[in-house]
């Protein structure tokens, strides 16, 4: 096996062991119903995490993801419920707004030469504040198109349901993997994360790629916001607070290095599923309080970071330690 695939394999093996252990304790967890809900319940997180994977592989970070999800939800709800816009047109509008928003952040990061951390922090305040200024309350969405999409699902044997949003997430992951590993843009992203200076010298269009990366992240966050509004049938300005942290955790657990230049989109999928497994297990157990979720995620995060360090130290004995960014 290729050495570079080790972290991905480690994540997958840990997921399988954890799932097998859960099934041994609660046999009913091995059902199409639970697996279907895995996809549906984590759809919005997964879609946002795909964008985050690209940002992190390029050596950056995007803190605005959760706020963009909240803002999108509110904008979609207001457009549909208050202004009577057809949902499809509303989707096009919010995706366009998000693309502009992401492009502005990418341009600020590149041209002002400031860390992505602080630019996307401003973006987070702006999007969350914008959503709260539009409305303070939860805006319900009652449109036949919405209920039609919510009812759209494939029934599996054993009572499981593959919902539209769950399948959409899987599709986004596959497209993301293709984009990362089979296109020129994908190679540019890896090159940028590996070393921005040598990427520039090799002729990577750094400015355009940086703008595109943050555009991609914001557009996927907006798509995730649309999915979230489909999931809850409402738009709420304080929705999805802190989702960026879950997304970052999923990306790290999925084997992507935060220093950039190395990672897998499909690893993030396993990371999202592992987070979903923790939540489902705690629901199944019933006696554990929900705050154990946070502790377990923290412990997992720690384990994977240490694991990555050990694997990289073992696989690159002669090399110098990577300089701290």
């Amino acid at each position: 096996m290729k050495r570079s695939l080790r972290p991905l394999a480690a994540t997958a093996v840990i997921f399988i062991i954890a799932y097998a252990a859960s099934v041994l304790q609660f046999p009913s967890m091995l059902s199409t119903r639970v697996l279907g809900n895995f996809l549906t319940d984590n759809a919005f997180l997964g879609i946002a995490a795909v964008g985050m994977t690209f940002v992190i592989i390029s050596g950056g970070i995007d803190l605005s993801v959760g706020a963009v999800i909240g803002f999108t939800g509110v904008l979609v709800a207001v457009l549909i419920s208050w202004l009577g816009v057809h949902p499809l047109l509303a989707f096009v509008i919010v995706l366009g707004v998000a693309a502009l928003f992401g492009a502005a952040m990418g341009a600020a990061i590149h041209y002002l030469k400031v860390p992505s951390f602080i630019v996307t922090l401003a973006g987070m305040f702006l999007a969350r504040g914008g959503a709260s200024v539009i409305t303070q309350d939860s805006v319900p969405i009652n449109h036949e198109f919405y209920s039609a999409i919510s009812d759209l699902m494939i029934r599996l044997p054993g009572g499981g349901r593959l919902s539209f949003i769950g399948l959409l997430m899987v599709a986004i992951f596959l497209l993301g993997a293709l984009l990362a590993h089979r296109t020129r843009f994908g190679s540019y992203v890896y090159a940028l994360g590996g070393n921005p200076v040598s990427a520039l010298l090799m002729g990577v269009p750094v400015a355009r790629t940086t703008v595109q990366i943050y555009m991609l992240s914001s557009v996927l966050a907006a798509l995730s916001g649309i999915v979230f509004s489909l999931y809850t049938s409402a738009g709420y300005p304080l929705a999805a607070v802190g989702v960026e942290l879950d997304a970052i955790s999923a990306v790290v657990i999925g084997g992507t290095l935060l220093t950039g230049g190395y990672g897998f989109v499909l690893g993030t999928f396993v990371g999202v599923m592992l987070l979903g497994l923790v939540q489902t297990y705690i629901i199944f157990d019933g006696t554990l309080s929900s705050w154990w979720t946070k502790i377990v995620i923290g412990v997992l995060l720690f384990l994977f970071i240490v694991l990555q360090r050990i694997i990289f130290a073992a696989s690159a004995p002669g090399e110098e330690k990577p300089e701290k960014a």
Partner: protein
Amino acid sequence: MKRLHLERLANPQLLALAAVLLINWALFPNFFRITWQDGRLFGSAIDVLNRGAPVAILAIGMTGVIATKGVDLSVGAIMAVCGAVAATMVVAGYPTPIAVTAALGVGIVCGLWNGFLVAVLDIQPIIATLVLMVAGRGIAQLITEGYIVTFNDPTLIFIGTGSLLGFPMAAVIALVLMILVTLVVKRTAIGLFIQAIGVNRSAASLAGINSRILLMLVYGLSGFCAAIAGILVAADIRGADANNSGLWLELDAILAVVIGGTSLLGGKFSIPLAVVGAIIIQAMNTGILVSGFRPEFNLIVKAGMIILILMLQSPLVGTAVGFFKRDDKRVVSK
């Protein structure tokens, strides 16, 4: 510090603070009216100092961390943990000094844990502190068993809401801490060492600085500051709220440090200016509240503020200014 030079007062941070205060005054003419009541000062300006104290205290610790090219995302969660420890121990009947000492100790341990991950395991600071940021609130919930632990301990309440010479206790604590840490950093070589690590850690280590111990110390200080802020916030509302205590305050603290002119790329730093940054943020908060705007505008104003600072600090503007000055030394940005 012996003499105050006039030109040293004219730095961008103090000008910005003056501008924010002037705008507040224009929007709300009673902003500077301070009254003496029940043995203490009252007024919006005093309120700014009182409410700004927790973020100012966090910013003191955060400045050191950012100066070493790091960042501490976990301070909000550490606040929740330490508030929970203090409240739970007081309710369980321990004497207040022991409860406070224990909470401070827990804060230091949390900070040292972050420092261990960063200094010994060589993990990126943003990720190393993310672990505790995610897990910390869960731990705080575990301590309070999911409830908001309320208490009636007079000493603890005095720390949060009392006053010294008319000034709110929280502001006094922040001021004392700022002076102490600034003196230690500026009057010893520690400040120089911190700066050296931030500029180039390998070079600093080769020059004989024990970067591991120093990084542990810096993160430990950040945890200690977070513990103080956590106790203050819990004492202020007479209860430890594991979910909301210190929520997103790490971002405000980072913002305060950045406003204070400390570079996120490590090196140059100033603790008093970071505290000024925290007061600027709080002055904007209070200004928006007292002038009758909706509090949601706060986030947008904050975002605007960050964008403005980024524009001013960016090398692009520096090059432009250099160009107009016809400076021979062109700024070559990496």
